[in-house]
Protein backbone atom coordinates (compact mmCIF):
# COMPACT_ATOMS: atom_id res chain seq x y z
CA UNK A 1 0.00 0.00 0.00
CA UNK A 2 1.32 3.45 -0.91
CA UNK A 3 0.01 6.79 0.23
CA UNK A 4 0.34 10.14 -1.57
CA UNK A 5 1.37 12.08 1.54
CA UNK A 6 1.84 15.44 -0.23
CA UNK A 7 -1.57 15.23 -1.92
CA UNK A 8 -3.32 14.24 1.29
CA UNK A 9 -1.57 17.03 3.23
CA UNK A 10 -2.64 19.68 0.70
CA UNK A 11 -6.19 18.32 0.81
CA UNK A 12 -6.14 18.29 4.62
CA UNK A 13 -4.89 21.89 4.75
CA UNK A 14 -7.61 22.95 2.27
CA UNK A 15 -10.37 21.29 4.36
CA UNK A 16 -8.96 22.75 7.59
CA UNK A 17 -8.81 26.26 6.13
CA UNK A 18 -12.33 25.89 4.76
CA UNK A 19 -13.70 24.88 8.17
CA UNK A 20 -11.74 27.60 10.04
CA UNK A 21 -12.87 30.37 7.68
CA UNK A 22 -16.45 29.05 7.72
CA UNK A 23 -16.54 29.11 11.53
CA UNK A 24 -15.04 32.63 11.52
CA UNK A 25 -17.36 33.70 8.69
CA UNK A 26 -20.06 35.39 10.72
CA UNK A 27 -17.74 37.10 13.21
CA UNK A 28 -15.05 38.10 10.72
CA UNK A 29 -16.87 39.22 7.60
CA UNK A 30 -14.71 38.89 4.47
CA UNK A 31 -14.39 41.82 2.10
CA UNK A 32 -13.95 40.82 -1.53
CA UNK A 33 -12.74 42.91 -4.43
CA UNK A 34 -15.43 44.28 -6.68
CA UNK A 35 -16.38 42.05 -9.59
CA UNK A 36 -18.35 44.17 -12.09
CA UNK A 37 -19.92 41.05 -13.64
CA UNK A 38 -21.68 39.96 -10.43
CA UNK A 39 -22.57 43.56 -9.51
CA UNK A 40 -24.24 44.03 -12.89
CA UNK A 41 -25.96 40.66 -12.52
CA UNK A 42 -27.68 41.59 -9.24
CA UNK A 43 -29.11 44.78 -10.75
CA UNK A 44 -30.11 43.03 -13.99
CA UNK A 45 -32.01 40.26 -12.16
CA UNK A 46 -34.03 42.86 -10.22
CA UNK A 47 -34.80 44.68 -13.46
CA UNK A 48 -35.82 41.44 -15.20
CA UNK A 49 -38.21 40.54 -12.36
CA UNK A 50 -39.83 43.98 -12.52
CA UNK A 51 -40.08 43.93 -16.32
CA UNK A 52 -41.57 40.42 -16.46
CA UNK A 53 -38.57 39.07 -18.33
CA UNK A 54 -36.74 35.83 -17.79
CA UNK A 55 -33.27 34.94 -16.44
CA UNK A 56 -31.56 32.06 -18.22
CA UNK A 57 -28.77 30.08 -16.54
CA UNK A 58 -26.69 27.84 -18.80
CA UNK A 59 -24.82 25.08 -16.98
CA UNK A 60 -22.59 24.29 -19.93
CA UNK A 61 -21.96 21.30 -22.10
CA UNK A 62 -19.88 19.20 -19.70
CA UNK A 63 -20.88 15.89 -18.17
CA UNK A 64 -21.73 15.45 -14.48
CA UNK A 65 -18.98 12.83 -14.15
CA UNK A 66 -15.52 14.19 -14.75
CA UNK A 67 -13.58 17.36 -13.98
CA UNK A 68 -15.84 19.51 -16.17
CA UNK A 69 -18.66 19.08 -13.64
CA UNK A 70 -17.04 21.52 -11.15
CA UNK A 71 -17.99 24.79 -12.92
CA UNK A 72 -21.52 23.47 -13.49
CA UNK A 73 -21.79 22.67 -9.76
CA UNK A 74 -20.78 26.29 -9.09
CA UNK A 75 -23.39 27.25 -11.69
CA UNK A 76 -26.04 25.34 -9.73
CA UNK A 77 -25.32 27.59 -6.73
CA UNK A 78 -25.85 30.66 -8.92
CA UNK A 79 -29.02 29.03 -10.30
CA UNK A 80 -30.29 28.45 -6.75
CA UNK A 81 -29.84 32.14 -5.88
CA UNK A 82 -31.35 33.30 -9.17
CA UNK A 83 -34.29 30.90 -8.76
CA UNK A 84 -34.96 32.23 -5.24
CA UNK A 85 -34.94 35.80 -6.57
CA UNK A 86 -37.27 35.07 -9.48
CA UNK A 87 -39.55 32.28 -8.17
CA UNK A 88 -42.37 34.67 -7.26
CA UNK A 89 -42.11 36.70 -10.48
CA UNK A 90 -44.25 36.27 -13.60
CA UNK A 91 -41.41 34.44 -15.32
CA UNK A 92 -39.23 32.29 -13.03
CA UNK A 93 -35.68 31.43 -14.13
CA UNK A 94 -34.92 28.69 -16.66
CA UNK A 95 -31.79 26.53 -16.79
CA UNK A 96 -30.35 24.57 -19.71
CA UNK A 97 -27.52 22.09 -20.17
CA UNK A 98 -26.21 19.49 -22.62
CA UNK A 99 -26.10 16.67 -20.04
CA UNK A 100 -29.05 14.60 -18.84
CA UNK A 101 -27.81 14.21 -15.26
CA UNK A 102 -27.05 17.92 -15.03
CA UNK A 103 -30.58 18.68 -16.26
CA UNK A 104 -31.95 16.60 -13.38
CA UNK A 105 -29.74 18.49 -10.91
CA UNK A 106 -30.97 21.78 -12.41
CA UNK A 107 -34.59 20.65 -11.94
CA UNK A 108 -33.84 19.67 -8.33
CA UNK A 109 -32.21 23.04 -7.66
CA UNK A 110 -35.17 24.94 -9.14
CA UNK A 111 -37.71 22.75 -7.31
CA UNK A 112 -35.90 23.22 -3.98
CA UNK A 113 -35.69 27.00 -4.45
CA UNK A 114 -39.45 27.16 -5.15
CA UNK A 115 -40.24 24.88 -2.18
CA UNK A 116 -38.16 27.04 0.19
CA UNK A 117 -40.28 30.04 -0.76
CA UNK A 118 -43.50 28.05 -0.40
CA UNK A 119 -44.18 28.34 -4.12
CA UNK A 120 -43.94 24.69 -5.17
CA UNK A 121 -47.03 25.04 -7.38
CA UNK A 122 -45.18 27.59 -9.53
CA UNK A 123 -42.36 25.17 -10.33
CA UNK A 124 -42.36 23.79 -13.90
CA UNK A 125 -40.28 20.61 -14.54
CA UNK A 126 -39.43 21.85 -18.06
CA UNK A 127 -37.77 24.98 -16.66
CA UNK A 128 -34.63 22.84 -16.19
CA UNK A 129 -33.93 21.13 -19.49
CA UNK A 130 -31.42 19.47 -21.75
CA UNK A 131 -31.13 21.29 -25.09
CA UNK A 132 -28.93 18.88 -27.03
CA UNK A 133 -26.56 16.02 -26.37
CA UNK A 134 -23.50 17.51 -28.11
CA UNK A 135 -21.82 20.91 -27.56
CA UNK A 136 -22.88 22.41 -30.89
CA UNK A 137 -26.40 20.96 -30.85
CA UNK A 138 -26.70 22.62 -27.44
CA UNK A 139 -25.48 25.94 -28.88
CA UNK A 140 -27.97 25.58 -31.74
CA UNK A 141 -30.82 25.30 -29.21
CA UNK A 142 -29.86 28.42 -27.24
CA UNK A 143 -31.36 31.11 -29.57
CA UNK A 144 -34.78 29.43 -29.42
CA UNK A 145 -34.74 29.48 -25.61
CA UNK A 146 -33.62 33.12 -25.51
CA UNK A 147 -36.34 34.19 -27.96
CA UNK A 148 -39.28 32.07 -26.76
CA UNK A 149 -38.70 32.63 -23.06
CA UNK A 150 -38.18 36.39 -23.42
CA UNK A 151 -34.76 36.22 -21.75
CA UNK A 152 -33.08 39.48 -20.72
CA UNK A 153 -30.34 38.05 -18.47
CA UNK A 154 -28.19 35.28 -19.93
CA UNK A 155 -25.77 33.61 -17.48
CA UNK A 156 -23.23 31.08 -18.77
CA UNK A 157 -21.75 29.33 -15.74
CA UNK A 158 -20.45 25.89 -16.64
CA UNK A 159 -17.94 24.02 -18.73
CA UNK A 160 -17.88 25.25 -22.33
CA UNK A 161 -15.59 24.85 -25.30
CA UNK A 162 -15.71 27.18 -28.28
CA UNK A 163 -19.51 26.73 -28.44
CA UNK A 164 -19.70 28.94 -25.33
CA UNK A 165 -18.65 31.93 -27.43
CA UNK A 166 -21.57 31.28 -29.80
CA UNK A 167 -23.99 30.87 -26.88
CA UNK A 168 -22.77 34.20 -25.45
CA UNK A 169 -23.02 35.91 -28.84
CA UNK A 170 -26.64 34.77 -29.25
CA UNK A 171 -27.40 36.55 -25.98
CA UNK A 172 -25.63 39.72 -27.09
CA UNK A 173 -27.63 39.72 -30.33
CA UNK A 174 -30.82 39.75 -28.26
CA UNK A 175 -29.35 42.64 -26.24
CA UNK A 176 -29.54 40.60 -23.06
CA UNK A 177 -27.08 41.11 -20.23
CA UNK A 178 -24.55 38.33 -20.78
CA UNK A 179 -22.35 37.04 -17.95
CA UNK A 180 -20.11 34.25 -19.24
CA UNK A 181 -17.39 32.03 -17.87
CA UNK A 182 -15.89 28.60 -18.39
CA UNK A 183 -13.19 26.38 -16.89
CA UNK A 184 -11.52 26.12 -20.30
CA UNK A 185 -8.87 28.79 -20.90
CA UNK A 186 -9.50 28.97 -24.66
CA UNK A 187 -13.24 29.32 -24.13
CA UNK A 188 -12.58 32.08 -21.59
CA UNK A 189 -10.57 33.99 -24.19
CA UNK A 190 -13.42 33.66 -26.69
CA UNK A 191 -16.01 34.69 -24.11
CA UNK A 192 -13.88 37.70 -23.17
CA UNK A 193 -14.68 39.02 -26.64
CA UNK A 194 -18.28 37.84 -27.00
CA UNK A 195 -19.77 38.32 -23.52
CA UNK A 196 -20.49 41.79 -22.15
CA UNK A 197 -19.46 40.65 -18.66
CA UNK A 198 -16.85 37.89 -18.91
CA UNK A 199 -15.77 35.84 -15.90
CA UNK A 200 -12.01 35.37 -15.96
CA UNK A 201 -10.13 32.50 -14.29
CA UNK A 202 -11.60 31.25 -11.03
CA UNK A 203 -14.26 34.02 -11.01
CA UNK A 204 -16.60 31.34 -12.35
CA UNK A 205 -16.42 29.65 -8.93
CA UNK A 206 -16.99 32.89 -6.98
CA UNK A 207 -20.70 33.32 -7.80
CA UNK A 208 -21.89 31.78 -4.51
CA UNK A 209 -19.76 34.14 -2.41
CA UNK A 210 -20.77 37.25 -4.38
CA UNK A 211 -24.47 36.31 -4.41
CA UNK A 212 -24.44 35.54 -0.64
CA UNK A 213 -25.12 31.81 -0.88
CA UNK A 214 -23.69 31.09 2.58
CA UNK A 215 -20.62 31.27 4.80
CA UNK A 216 -18.94 28.31 3.11
CA UNK A 217 -18.73 30.20 -0.17
CA UNK A 218 -16.90 33.13 1.40
CA UNK A 219 -14.71 30.64 3.27
CA UNK A 220 -13.88 28.91 -0.04
CA UNK A 221 -12.54 32.13 -1.54
CA UNK A 222 -10.43 32.83 1.54
CA UNK A 223 -9.03 29.27 1.59
CA UNK A 224 -8.28 29.54 -2.15
CA UNK A 225 -6.39 32.80 -1.56
CA UNK A 226 -4.25 31.24 1.20
CA UNK A 227 -3.46 28.20 -0.95
CA UNK A 228 -2.73 30.38 -3.97
CA UNK A 229 -0.08 32.25 -1.95
CA UNK A 230 1.39 28.91 -0.79
CA UNK A 231 1.51 27.62 -4.38
CA UNK A 232 3.23 30.83 -5.56
CA UNK A 233 5.79 30.54 -2.74
CA UNK A 234 6.40 26.87 -3.64
CA UNK A 235 6.92 27.77 -7.32
CA UNK A 236 9.34 30.58 -6.41
CA UNK A 237 11.26 28.33 -3.98
CA UNK A 238 11.42 25.55 -6.58
CA UNK A 239 12.69 27.92 -9.25
CA UNK A 240 15.34 29.31 -6.90
CA UNK A 241 16.52 25.87 -5.71
CA UNK A 242 16.58 24.57 -9.29
CA UNK A 243 18.60 27.60 -10.45
CA UNK A 244 21.11 27.09 -7.62
CA UNK A 245 21.36 23.39 -8.54
CA UNK A 246 20.09 22.18 -5.15
CA UNK A 247 17.31 20.18 -6.82
CA UNK A 248 17.50 18.71 -10.35
Amino acid sequence: MSIDVVGLTVLGVFILLLLIFASLGRRWQPSFRKLPSYEALGTAIERAVEAGERVHVSLGTGSVIGPESAPAMAGLVVLSRVASATAMSDRPAVATTADGAMAILAQDTLRTAHARLGASERYEPTSGRMLGATPYSYAAGVPAVLANENVSVHILNGSFGSEGALAADFGERRQALVVGGSDDVHAQALMYATAEHPLVGEEIYAGGAYLNAGVFHGASLRAQDVLRVLVILAILAGTLLSTLGVIP
Partner: protein
Protein backbone atom coordinates in the same frame (compact mmCIF):
# COMPACT_ATOMS: atom_id res chain seq x y z
CA UNK B 1 -39.59 13.19 7.13
CA UNK B 2 -38.27 15.89 4.81
CA UNK B 3 -35.41 16.57 7.23
CA UNK B 4 -34.51 12.85 7.22
CA UNK B 5 -34.42 12.71 3.42
CA UNK B 6 -31.79 15.40 2.89
CA UNK B 7 -29.65 13.96 5.67
CA UNK B 8 -29.65 10.58 3.87
CA UNK B 9 -28.74 12.16 0.49
CA UNK B 10 -25.97 14.19 2.10
CA UNK B 11 -24.58 11.16 3.96
CA UNK B 12 -24.56 9.08 0.75
CA UNK B 13 -22.84 11.88 -1.21
CA UNK B 14 -20.24 12.42 1.54
CA UNK B 15 -19.49 8.70 2.00
CA UNK B 16 -19.19 7.80 -1.69
CA UNK B 17 -17.37 11.03 -2.55
CA UNK B 18 -14.96 10.44 0.34
CA UNK B 19 -14.21 6.87 -0.81
CA UNK B 20 -13.65 7.93 -4.45
CA UNK B 21 -11.43 10.82 -3.35
CA UNK B 22 -9.43 8.61 -0.95
CA UNK B 23 -8.86 6.20 -3.85
CA UNK B 24 -6.79 8.86 -5.62
CA UNK B 25 -4.40 9.22 -2.68
CA UNK B 26 -4.27 5.76 -1.07
CA UNK B 27 -3.19 2.85 -3.27
CA UNK B 28 -5.04 0.06 -1.42
CA UNK B 29 -6.47 -2.71 -3.71
CA UNK B 30 -9.82 -2.94 -1.86
CA UNK B 31 -10.23 0.84 -1.94
CA UNK B 32 -9.35 0.97 -5.65
CA UNK B 33 -11.93 -1.73 -6.42
CA UNK B 34 -14.58 0.16 -4.48
CA UNK B 35 -13.67 3.41 -6.24
CA UNK B 36 -13.93 1.77 -9.67
CA UNK B 37 -17.25 0.18 -8.70
CA UNK B 38 -18.70 3.56 -7.75
CA UNK B 39 -17.31 5.13 -10.92
CA UNK B 40 -19.00 2.42 -13.02
CA UNK B 41 -22.29 3.05 -11.20
CA UNK B 42 -21.89 6.77 -11.89
CA UNK B 43 -21.39 6.08 -15.62
CA UNK B 44 -24.48 3.81 -15.71
CA UNK B 45 -26.59 6.37 -13.85
CA UNK B 46 -25.33 9.11 -16.14
CA UNK B 47 -26.46 7.09 -19.18
CA UNK B 48 -29.89 6.60 -17.60
CA UNK B 49 -30.00 10.33 -16.87
CA UNK B 50 -29.29 11.03 -20.56
CA UNK B 51 -32.46 9.12 -21.39
CA UNK B 52 -34.39 11.19 -18.84
CA UNK B 53 -32.86 14.33 -20.34
CA UNK B 54 -34.10 13.35 -23.79
CA UNK B 55 -37.58 12.63 -22.39
CA UNK B 56 -37.47 16.06 -20.73
CA UNK B 57 -36.50 17.63 -24.09
CA UNK B 58 -39.36 15.79 -25.74
CA UNK B 59 -41.82 16.94 -23.06
CA UNK B 60 -40.71 20.58 -23.41
CA UNK B 61 -41.20 20.54 -27.19
CA UNK B 62 -44.50 18.60 -27.03
CA UNK B 63 -45.77 21.27 -24.65
CA UNK B 64 -44.73 23.93 -27.16
CA UNK B 65 -46.55 22.15 -29.98
CA UNK B 66 -49.71 21.56 -27.93
CA UNK B 67 -49.82 25.21 -26.82
CA UNK B 68 -48.84 26.39 -30.35
CA UNK B 69 -46.21 28.70 -28.87
CA UNK B 70 -43.95 30.78 -31.14
CA UNK B 71 -41.76 28.52 -33.28
CA UNK B 72 -43.89 25.41 -32.63
CA UNK B 73 -43.38 23.98 -36.16
CA UNK B 74 -39.65 23.69 -35.38
CA UNK B 75 -40.50 21.83 -32.18
CA UNK B 76 -42.73 19.51 -34.22
CA UNK B 77 -39.87 18.87 -36.63
CA UNK B 78 -37.55 18.13 -33.71
CA UNK B 79 -40.01 15.60 -32.27
CA UNK B 80 -40.46 13.84 -35.64
CA UNK B 81 -36.69 13.64 -36.29
CA UNK B 82 -35.90 12.61 -32.71
CA UNK B 83 -38.44 9.79 -32.75
CA UNK B 84 -37.48 8.80 -36.31
CA UNK B 85 -33.78 8.52 -35.37
CA UNK B 86 -34.70 6.57 -32.23
CA UNK B 87 -36.85 4.09 -34.17
CA UNK B 88 -34.16 3.65 -36.86
CA UNK B 89 -31.54 3.08 -34.17
CA UNK B 90 -33.70 0.55 -32.33
CA UNK B 91 -34.67 -1.33 -35.50
CA UNK B 92 -31.37 -1.37 -37.41
CA UNK B 93 -28.88 -0.88 -34.55
CA UNK B 94 -26.53 2.06 -33.94
CA UNK B 95 -23.86 0.80 -36.41
CA UNK B 96 -26.26 0.56 -39.35
CA UNK B 97 -25.38 2.54 -42.50
CA UNK B 98 -28.71 4.41 -42.47
CA UNK B 99 -28.29 5.56 -38.87
CA UNK B 100 -24.65 6.51 -39.41
CA UNK B 101 -25.66 8.47 -42.53
CA UNK B 102 -27.95 10.65 -40.42
CA UNK B 103 -24.95 11.72 -38.37
CA UNK B 104 -22.55 11.89 -41.30
CA UNK B 105 -24.76 13.86 -43.72
CA UNK B 106 -26.98 15.88 -41.39
CA UNK B 107 -25.60 16.38 -37.89
CA UNK B 108 -21.91 16.69 -38.79
CA UNK B 109 -22.38 19.32 -41.55
CA UNK B 110 -24.80 21.35 -39.39
CA UNK B 111 -22.37 21.36 -36.44
CA UNK B 112 -19.45 22.20 -38.75
CA UNK B 113 -21.44 25.14 -40.10
CA UNK B 114 -21.99 26.41 -36.58
CA UNK B 115 -18.28 26.08 -35.91
CA UNK B 116 -17.54 28.11 -39.03
CA UNK B 117 -20.05 30.71 -37.87
CA UNK B 118 -17.87 31.19 -34.81
CA UNK B 119 -15.22 33.00 -36.90
CA UNK B 120 -17.81 35.55 -38.07
CA UNK B 121 -19.23 35.90 -34.55
CA UNK B 122 -15.76 36.57 -33.15
CA UNK B 123 -15.00 39.24 -35.77
CA UNK B 124 -18.31 40.99 -34.97
CA UNK B 125 -17.67 40.59 -31.21
CA UNK B 126 -14.22 42.16 -31.61
CA UNK B 127 -15.72 45.25 -33.26
CA UNK B 128 -18.48 45.37 -30.63
CA UNK B 129 -15.91 45.17 -27.85
CA UNK B 130 -13.91 48.10 -29.26
CA UNK B 131 -17.10 50.17 -29.50
CA UNK B 132 -18.45 49.30 -26.06
CA UNK B 133 -15.66 48.49 -23.62
CA UNK B 134 -13.15 51.27 -23.27
CA UNK B 135 -10.57 49.90 -20.83
CA UNK B 136 -6.90 48.93 -20.85
CA UNK B 137 -7.61 45.18 -20.83
CA UNK B 138 -9.80 45.36 -23.92
CA UNK B 139 -7.13 47.41 -25.69
CA UNK B 140 -4.46 44.80 -24.80
CA UNK B 141 -6.81 42.02 -25.95
CA UNK B 142 -7.49 43.61 -29.34
CA UNK B 143 -3.84 44.61 -29.93
CA UNK B 144 -2.64 41.09 -29.07
CA UNK B 145 -5.26 39.54 -31.34
CA UNK B 146 -4.16 41.79 -34.21
CA UNK B 147 -0.45 41.03 -33.67
CA UNK B 148 -1.12 37.27 -33.52
CA UNK B 149 -3.19 37.52 -36.72
CA UNK B 150 -0.39 39.45 -38.45
CA UNK B 151 2.07 36.77 -37.39
CA UNK B 152 -0.17 33.92 -38.52
CA UNK B 153 -1.94 35.07 -41.67
CA UNK B 154 -0.18 34.89 -45.07
CA UNK B 155 1.17 38.24 -46.31
CA UNK B 156 0.54 39.45 -49.86
CA UNK B 157 3.66 39.33 -52.11
CA UNK B 158 5.64 37.36 -49.51
CA UNK B 159 5.68 40.14 -46.91
CA UNK B 160 9.46 40.59 -47.02
CA UNK B 161 11.11 40.78 -43.60
CA UNK B 162 7.77 41.54 -41.93
CA UNK B 163 6.73 37.88 -42.03
CA UNK B 164 9.70 36.82 -39.93
CA UNK B 165 9.34 39.75 -37.51
CA UNK B 166 5.62 39.24 -36.87
CA UNK B 167 6.13 35.48 -36.76
CA UNK B 168 8.73 35.92 -34.02
CA UNK B 169 6.42 38.39 -32.18
CA UNK B 170 3.51 35.95 -32.38
CA UNK B 171 5.61 33.12 -30.94
CA UNK B 172 6.93 35.38 -28.18
CA UNK B 173 3.38 36.47 -27.23
CA UNK B 174 1.99 32.93 -27.37
CA UNK B 175 4.85 31.04 -25.71
CA UNK B 176 5.90 33.57 -23.05
CA UNK B 177 2.99 35.84 -22.12
CA UNK B 178 -0.06 33.77 -23.08
CA UNK B 179 1.36 30.44 -21.83
CA UNK B 180 2.46 32.00 -18.52
CA UNK B 181 -0.88 33.71 -17.98
CA UNK B 182 -2.79 30.56 -18.96
CA UNK B 183 -0.86 28.50 -16.40
CA UNK B 184 -1.70 31.04 -13.70
CA UNK B 185 -5.37 30.96 -14.71
CA UNK B 186 -5.40 27.14 -14.74
CA UNK B 187 -3.94 27.09 -11.20
CA UNK B 188 -6.72 29.40 -10.02
CA UNK B 189 -9.36 27.29 -11.79
CA UNK B 190 -7.97 24.12 -10.19
CA UNK B 191 -8.17 25.67 -6.71
CA UNK B 192 -11.73 26.80 -7.42
CA UNK B 193 -12.71 23.32 -8.63
CA UNK B 194 -11.23 21.70 -5.51
CA UNK B 195 -13.09 24.16 -3.27
CA UNK B 196 -16.37 23.45 -5.11
CA UNK B 197 -15.85 19.68 -4.73
CA UNK B 198 -14.99 19.98 -1.05
CA UNK B 199 -18.11 22.05 -0.35
CA UNK B 200 -20.20 19.21 -1.79
CA UNK B 201 -18.20 16.58 0.14
CA UNK B 202 -18.68 18.55 3.37
CA UNK B 203 -22.43 18.81 2.69
CA UNK B 204 -22.34 22.62 2.49
CA UNK B 205 -23.57 22.56 -1.13
CA UNK B 206 -26.36 20.14 -1.97
CA UNK B 207 -26.95 20.17 -5.73
CA UNK B 208 -29.24 17.14 -5.33
CA UNK B 209 -31.82 19.32 -3.55
CA UNK B 210 -33.30 19.22 -0.04
Amino acid sequence: MKLGAWIVWTAVAMAIGGIVLAGYFVDLPELQELRLLFMRWAILLSAAALLLGILNLLAAHMHKVSQQEAGWPYSGLLIVILLGTLVLGLVFGPDNRVVLSLFEYIQLPVESTLMALLAVSLAVAGVRMVARRHDVYSLIFILTALLVLLGTAPWPFGGGGLTGYFGWLRNWLAQVWAAGAARGIVLGIALGAIATGLRILLGADRPYGD
